[in-house]
């Protein structure tokens, strides 16, 4: 038993492996080159996964009550011994952190493997893998840290990697801008994290999780609420919740494996992790309600936006925001296990969907506009199969994973008598079903709209539009580029930072070539994730003896009361009701899109929604609004501050001090005449004067 605890103290090896890979590849990657660099990164990730499994086994070897014990923490070295503030660099292995470590390394390995195929031929191939490894290391530091500051180190690390990877193809202006947007938006959340840490330190004198957990009720409820809300702000930034959600859809400018790994499966769940770690603050106060409402509103609004996105990746991005909203909803309801369960299942099916969409884009000559897809199942049967499985999973069709995970959250809202949130959850689930069905049918079923005008059923798409700009990277002259060149597409206008495929115009140009299936190295991870998305539900089946995840995580969430359905029938009824509504959503979208699109620029749902369509399609003009606000009054305020406050008040104060002393010195500056002997005389006279004073006055 003590042996397994000693093993748990070796949890630092999990982040150390990819960290070594990142340093190694940054130093020697260029010399190693393709594909060995990719294999090194993948091998290190799989080793980290194996070590996480060892950690899991050692954890299970401990008796239940010892699994989240303080003794599992291990101090590696003293990081900041600064007076009262003493922070150690250390790891803490408990069920919560090990669950996340398994998720990051497991899904991470698959996505590394996929990237070997996806990044084939990129000129910065090895640097991509160095960044991916660095990201994995940061994420693992984040989850395995023994105190808030170590977590913050990883938190900033993943933010940096997110920035580096979103703008990986920085030659494209929109990618560079999207990276900056993500970075700056995340900083807003980080302010919350920092302030929360200051408050925690001021209240407890330490940042260790082990000390903070039991003490949440010992501080005043005002302080605890402030800490909880500041942490919520931090989590909103990282997990793209309203009002800080706007960076995630733009983050899709990065390579698709990045979207899958960072912006769907792992990094964006860091906010959920943080709130789970700090759950005593939520339990001690009523701030959980705020978390739940933020999550619920985000889930609903992002779901409504996703239904009209023409870009396959942006639709998935809004879907991710919406699903993250569910996780926040669960956290706010104190149903932490349900949130973690959702994180796991979401990583499986959203990872699969993103990697699948990557295969679609890869096979479709870098065009990612769904309006010119259709009928792809014939050309890429494996990808189509995997994505259909993941679609059914996310839509909540039993017995796939999404059914169990999402319905558990929605049922929890009902069981905790939060009927408003329950209704929001159900409606959002219906939207989930609609946008996912639309995505699948536009991509894989219906008419083939990728043929050039005059050559297929989608021929009418270009009629009436004189300018048909290229909507995605790749071919800007209408000729498909068969050999994928993932470096910067030259066709993009450098001055236009707008996303790859925005809602509404421009009308996409069909590229005229049928898509092709992705190579085996890309198909395999998609298939594995599809399998996991299908069977992931068994982690936590709603039967008393089979709630394995509940039981495993229980030590980390000790003292949080679990709310269970009164009877099996009640639980079953709740889940069936949610499923029925989701099924209506699927059916509705199926009716609309089963034949594809008659005209590529006419979306039937768009026309059905009428005036609402542009509002939803443009995401409630939130981005425009922020741009207007920051660009208009924001810039005016900054300019006023620059002109008045900075130039007059701050510079005035600084210059005023200077002028004051200049005036003061005017009389005595004559003395400084540069004559050394006169200075020496001054010193001599001064010494004599002091001596006289000592002898005559003090010695008296």
């Amino acid at each position: 038993m003590s042996g397994s605890r000693d093993l748990l103290h070796l949890a630092w090896i999990i982040p150390a492996l990819p960290l070594f890979g990142a340093v190694f590849l940054l130093l020697f990657g260029k010399r190693i080159g393709e594909p060995v660099a990719g294999w090194i990164a993948t091998a290190l990730m799989s080793l980290a996964f194996v070590w996480s499994l060892v950690m899991l086994v050692s954890l299970l070897d401990l008796p239940t009550e010892m699994r989240a014990s303080v003794l599992n923490a291990n101090v590696l070295w003293s990081w900041m011994p600064a007076g009262a503030l003493h922070v150690d660099m250390g790891t803490f292995a408990d069920p919560l952190s090990i669950t996340w470590a398994l998720l990051v390394t497991g899904v991470g390995t698959l996505i590394h493997l996929y990237s070997i195929g996806y990044m084939h031929g990129d000129e910065r191939y090895s640097r991509f893998f160095a960044y991916l490894n660095l990201f994995a290391a940061s994420m693992l530091i984040l989850v395995l840290g023994s105190n808030f500051l170590v977590t913050f180190l990883g938190w900033e690390g993943v933010g940096l990697c997110s920035y580096l990877l979103i703008s990986f193809w920085f030659e494209r202006n929109s990618a560079a801008v999207a990276g900056k947007k993500a970075f700056v938006t995340n900083r807003v959340g980080d302010v919350g994290f920092l302030l929360a840490m200051f408050l925690i330190f001021a209240s407890y004198g330490t940042l260790n999780y082990s000390a903070v957990g039991p003490g949440a009720r010992s501080v005043s409820s005002g302080t605890a609420t402030a800490i909880a809300l500041l942490l919520l702000l931090a989590a909103c930034g990282k997990s793209a919740q309203i009002p800080l959600h706007l960076w995630l859809p733009d983050a899709m400018e990065g390579p698709t494996p990045v979207s899958a790994l960072i912006h769907a499966a792992t990094m964006v769940t860091a906010g959920v992790f943080l709130l789970c770690r700090a759950h005593p603050f939520l339990d001690a106060t009523s701030s959980g309600t705020v978390v739940a409402w933020v999550g619920g509103i985000t889930a609903l609004l992002a779901g409504t936006v996703a239904i009209l996105q023409p870009d396959i990746k942006r639709a998935l991005a809004y879907s991710t925001v919406s699903q993250l909203g569910y996780m926040f909803l669960a956290v706010g309801l104190h149903a932490y296990t349900a949130a973690v369960f959702m994180v796991l299942c979401h990583a499986f099916y959203k990872g699969c969907l993103f990697l699948g969409s990557g295969s679609v884009i890869h096979g479709n000559h870098d065009v990612q506009d769904m309006r010119v897809m259709g009928g792809f199942r014939k050309y890429m049967p494996y990808t189509a199969f995997a994505m259909v499985v993941a679609w059914l999973a996310i839509a909540g069709v039993p017995p796939l994973s999404g059914f169990f995970s999402k319905d558990e959250i929605i049922s929890q809202a009902f069981l905790r008598d939060d009927y408003a949130l329950w209704v929001i959850g159900i409606v959002a689930a219906a939207f989930t079903a609609v946008y996912m069905t639309r995505l699948i049918f536009l991509t894989f079923y219906g008419n083939e709209r990728f043929r050039v005008a005059g050559d297929g059923p989608g021929a009418g798409s270009g009629v009436g539009h004189e300018a048909l700009p290229v909507i995605s990277g790749g071919s800007d002259d209408g000729v498909a580029v068969l050999d994928h060149d993932h470096t910067a597409p030259a066709g993009d206008d450098d001055s236009d930072p707008s996303p790859t495929v925005a809602y509404g115009d421009p009308v996409p140009v069909p590229n005229g070539h049928p898509p092709h299936e992705a190579p085996g190295i890309m198909v395999l991870p998609v298939m594995v994730l599809a399998l996991l998305a299908a069977i992931g539900g068994i982690l936590n089946l709603p039967f008393t003896s089979m709630e394995w995840l509940d039981k495993f995580l229980e030590p980390s969430f000790r003292g949080v009361p679990a709310v269970k359905p009164d009877s099996f029938a009640q639980g079953f009824g709740l889940e069936m009701l949610t499923f029925a509504i989701a099924a209506c959503g699927i059916f509705f979208a199926y009716k609309l899109y089963k034949k594809g699109l008659e005209y590529a620029d006419r979306d039937p749902l768009n026309e059905k929604l009428g005036v609402l369509a542009p509002i939803l399609g443009n995401a409630y003009y939130y981005d425009h609004g922020i741009s207007k606000l920051v660009g208009g009054p924001g810039r005016a305020t900054a300019s006023w501050l620059n002109r008045v406050v900075d130039a007059k008040i701050i510079d005035g104060a600084v210059n005023g001090v200077g002028h004051f002393f200049e005036l003061l010195s005017r009389g005595v500056q004559e003395i400084q005449d540069g004559h050394v002997r006169r200075y020496a005389m001054g010193i001599a006279l001064g010494t004599v004067g002091i001596l006289l004073y000592v002898v005559l006055w003090i010695g008296r």
Partner: protein
């Protein structure tokens, strides 16, 4: 009692030190040649050294001698730097009159 056996009273040493110090100080204030001023500073330093050694012996306290070692070390360093500066000045100006070297004064004054 033979006259030869008498020891010199500590006061004389102090008087000698005071004289040397005064010569050094007066030279520093009156001479214009930088090299001579520099030698005057050395005189003053050694006068202080003599005082320290005298008191160390008189009071039977070894710390006085220890301080002398420090002063010697610092003085050696000072000589190295100071002479280098003086040589540099000689090279540029063909002379080393302290009163000409007033570049650091306030130009507006």
């Amino acid at each position: 009692m033979p006259v030869l056996a008498t020891t010199i009273d500590a006061g004389w040493y102090l008087v000698l030190a005071a004289l040397v110090f005064t010569i050094g100080a007066a030279g520093l204030l009156t001479r214009r040649n930088v090299l001579v001023m520099f030698m005057c500073v050395e005189l003053m330093l050694n006068a202080v050294n003599l005082t320290f050694v005298t008191f160390a012996r008189e009071l039977n306290d070894i710390r006085g001698q220890v301080i002398v070692f420090f002063i010697l070390a610092v003085a050696a360093a000072e000589v190295a730097v100071g002479l280098a500066i003086i040589v540099a000045i000689f090279r540029r100006r063909r002379g080393a009159t302290a009163d000409d070297l007033d570049l650091l004064k306030d130009p507006t004054a």
